[in-house]
Symmetry: C3
């Protein structure tokens, strides 16, 4: 209403001038300013709607992970996810945002203070901090991304991790490691300078989470009774409807994850991103259905869901530059890879109850590399394979090493795993004193 009045006032003032023909004419610059102000409103709104969509991915993760776990560990998984989203938003506010986007820095690391309070961000409370959106729109959109990394780990370590240790671990990961790795690329660090291309975070979000998860599950070890002398015993998901709700909500939220990463409502870009994201997911679902049916001789719902997500992770590195037919192919291959990867990790006895290392880690690599392969990127010659490999190697190694060190320290201090009795009884009763389902 204030703006409305302002415009009307300007209008009225200038109206007075219309008597003198020449003064009345508005200049192109003035018009361009007004047009740009209105464009700004749309772009900013899209970033905010995208933030809400990325937020709902946390419900997606909660439902997917708890659905794929055993009935006795559901409360624990849900509690971790509620904690993660709260802790993620708060730590990103306190330290993450300004570490993620440090401004001028050495390209490797620089800790920032609270969002909106340091000198660099003097414009924090002004309307137009950036070309297309406000400071707080940028903050909240990025904050919703931040907790994702910890959520990915949460699924992989489920059913045997000690709650307090996980809470400490995930806080350190989200507050420190995630924004540091992100600053290399999105913060203008050394990967940005190397020409690394990762549009919405196939590497710096998903693969980061996947490799942090890999280190954690290696230290943690497999769930009791999973790998026995008599071979691998499948531990069945307690609720496939819950897992399906999760996968669909993740797909839904991904429209904000990728679509919002355009960082404006540019019609051609956002429409292309929606299309390549959807075709990537659909290709991933079909790829996983096909290959799992061929290999496992049964149409497997869990694999289909992981295929959907794998298609989405595959396309996340470049949904804005890939061609439409290539998005379908890249997603389809991602869906095939995830099935093979899940089988592989089970072979080498690395126990990941929800397939998080495969979906986010391995497929994240695929999506990032695919963008540098001419046949898969639709002829885009701007993405260099060297730069992509550099990004994968540095982010993957950092996530793995950071997670390994923190988890090892926790292991030799407060411990990272519940006792055998607690694991047998289930974490819900052991840690929370309550069952997920009663009556």
């Amino acid at each position: 209403m204030k703006i409305k009045l302002a415009i009307t006032t300007i209008g009225s003032l200038l109206l007075l001038g219309t008597a003198n023909a020449q003064e009345a004419a508005i200049t192109a610059t003035e018009v361009a300013d007004q047009t740009s102000d209105v464009k700004f409103i749309i772009d900013n709104l899209w970033i905010l709607i995208s933030a809400a969509l990325v937020f709902i991915m946390h419900l997606g993760f909660s439902a997917l992970e708890s659905g794929l776990c055993q009935k006795k560990n559901v409360v624990n998984v849900l509690f971790k996810n509620v904690f993660i989203i709260c802790m993620g938003i708060v730590t990103y506010y306190l330290i993450g945002f300004n570490t993620h986007y440090p401004g001028e820095f050495n390209g490797f690391m620089q800790f920032g203070g609270m969002a909106g309070y340091d000198a660099v961000n003097a414009a924090a409370n002004e309307t137009k901090a950036y070309a297309d959106y406000t400071y707080w729109a940028d903050f909240i959109f990025q904050a919703m991304f931040a907790a994702t990394a910890a959520t990915i780990v949460s699924g992989a370590v489920a059913e045997r991790v000690k709650l307090s240790s996980f809470m400490i671990f995930s806080t350190i990961l989200v507050a420190i490691a995630y924004p540091i790795a992100g600053s290399w690329h999105w913060g203008g660090g050394f990967l940005a300078e190397a020409g690394f291309y990762d549009f919405a975070g196939s590497t710096v979000v998903h693969m980061f989470g996947g490799f942090a998860a890999l280190a954690a599950v290696i230290i943690l070890g497999a769930r009791k009774g999973k790998y026995t002398k008599d071979g691998t015993k499948p531990i069945l998901p307690h609720s496939l409807p819950l897992a399906t709700i999760g996968a669909f909500l993740l797909f839904f939220g991904w429209f904000g994850f990728n679509g919002g990463s355009v960082l404006s409502a540019d019609p051609a870009s956002v429409a292309l991103v929606f299309t390549t994201t959807s075709l990537g997911a659909a290709g991933g679902g079909l790829g996983a259905i096909l290959i799992s049916w061929a290999l496992l001789k049964k149409p497997d719902l869990s694999m289909a869901l992981n295929g959907l997500l794998a298609g989405l992770v595959s396309i996340t590195a470049g949904p804005d530059v890939i061609t439409v037919p290539c998005s379908l192919i890249v997603g389809f291959i991602g869906g095939c890879i995830v099935v093979l990867s899940v089988i592989f990790f089970d072979k080498v006895k690395i126990d990941d109850p929800v397939g998080a290392v495969s979906v986010h880690g391995i497929v994240g690599i695929w999506g990032t590399i695919a963008l540098a392969i001419p046949i898969f990127n639709g002829g885009n010659e701007d993405v260099s394979m060297i730069a992509q490999l550099k990004g994968i190697a540095s982010v993957g190694a950092f996530a793995f090493a950071f997670s390994l060190i923190v988890f090892l320290i926790l292991k030799f201090t407060i411990g990272v795993r519940v006792s055998e009795e607690e694991e047998e009884e289930g974490l819900d009763v052991a840690e929370h004193g309550v069952d997920a389902y009663n009556g």
Copy 2:
């Protein structure tokens, strides 16, 4: 950012001119162009957000259908729905979109090629393919609609259909039959010329799906033990919370289904559509609650949910032209009809576990006809009853016949129904080797 710079550049260039008073003045045409560019961004964004909302309807259908089924068939229902959304997007890309919108054609049928690749759509990768949105925004919005038809059938044939046959059937339905029927109306075919009015697809989406479902369930036959010598045995829904989640998500997604069908963010139209859609749904819910309570002597949750959906289907033919009070009445009657229709189909022993034929087929007819009845359309004289009946008859007959033929061919080749043992055991274990709930 690119656009922003462009505007600034134009601004700067013209700024130079301000010294010479007359050159500085911007013309009305130039301003109109800038205004129209910004409007385009908003309209396009709304189409895309609507696509995401229609996408979530597929989770709605998954939850509703699996919730209303027996516990032993839940994985099967969910798997079909995951397959349908993947297959739907892909086939719509490969053939559906250009069959749906064939451009100049004989008015009855013309197969198209891949989206974005044929001569007609040379503008595919340009920003402004249409007046209000880009080519890919149009594509992805329509793609999300396409799979709906198959999903409707999915619910009706649940609990006894053979998975592979259903996958073949639904692929043919979505890839070929749906876009052909749609082209008659939305593609500028013979129904469009006849003046048929169906805003967001009461007939060409919902009734189409409902009648395809009707043919399928007639061939398939009822579930074992439903209609016995001792009368009709109700087969109870395995999870009413899941079904309720589904119905609410369908209502939520319908804001995109109807609201996005305005094909722009025109304030008066979209606001009216949101209002009539909501009042239609609310009326449908109340109508179904009232009449089912009167007839069945119990407040029935399943009927209330079907009433909500019936209200939504009722209003979908003309949420943009109906008056607000009429939307409430039309929805209310739709809610009453669905209860009577469900009871009727049970009487004639046509077994439809989720009531899809009633909700989408029968109520689809009601919504389409209501729009031509003065007392229900708020005095709109532009909609002709003849045209409406022509649309209902041709789309209904085509959907029914197409589905009948394909299902019959499948029946006499690979079979359409699981064995009695498999039905007894449940499709989850028989077809997928896994239970939906474990532990």
Copy 3:
């Protein structure tokens, strides 16, 4: 499309004029009008998207309340919620909207007629009824809020209220009491004149619902077996995954509840509101986790979920004026309060199965008061403590008294509580003749 053509036409007409240099120039007023038209489209669209988001809160409430109840009362809770959203939209249309926003009135109460039909709202069907949105956009956004009050009561009285009595009670509450109380503040009544500040309804929606619930549960009494001679017996939630889905969806919908209450897409305001709302929720979750862990010696998921919601309610009084760090603190304290409040009500044997009185009533007071305490409102000196207390006292007293009277009348006529046998058996079978879960 019509608008598009209009613009082009204007453009063309003026283009003719460009030959005569001076006529060609567009005036500032004309440009301002075009700019304001486009702004209007965005603002209106955001109100509508927000309406859809607030709608999904009703699924959030349905899932949260049914998840926290016993298995035998789930259908009843869901049925009530489906009824509430239908009834809420319809009564708001028939009487609520024009009672809520009566225009010139005595400041205390004036009943209105149907939306869109009385003289005051002659502009109902025009495009621009208000500065930033259309008449029907305003209606549908507010309609989605209206049913919230009844939903809050629904959770508190769950598991023993008589269905028909609740339906009558909630209809009267939503149709009459809610819009009257709202008119005092949002309708320009005596609280608006007193300078009462309540941005999105911490008091006039949440506390209103919480105090109506308090009166209802006092009359209704506790569930059988909750408070025994041997102390308080916890009645366990039947499905914590369902409750978690509910809490996350409420958080998601709150972006529309608070964000849409900006009543435009103003970039600085909406972005700030998203940020303070998210930090409030995150703070509330952490506060509740911390204090409940300390007091109950277990990390409690239900308390964490109530903490999230308490954070959201806390911030709802002033998400647009509070500073970002204060939003975190206010939410955190809200999360602590809700835990203490839930424990307190159990101590005084007021039985509220979902903690609705605490979350919405008590925390609603906190949020409204906090805004007048300098240390918590970020130095905003415009909010007067007197006015805030006046708002709390009048809305709280009215909600409590109204609910008390209506509930008492119902108690002494048709009764408000099911029989002991029905309560024992569960309302699902007793009232609806069906179980929530079968097979």
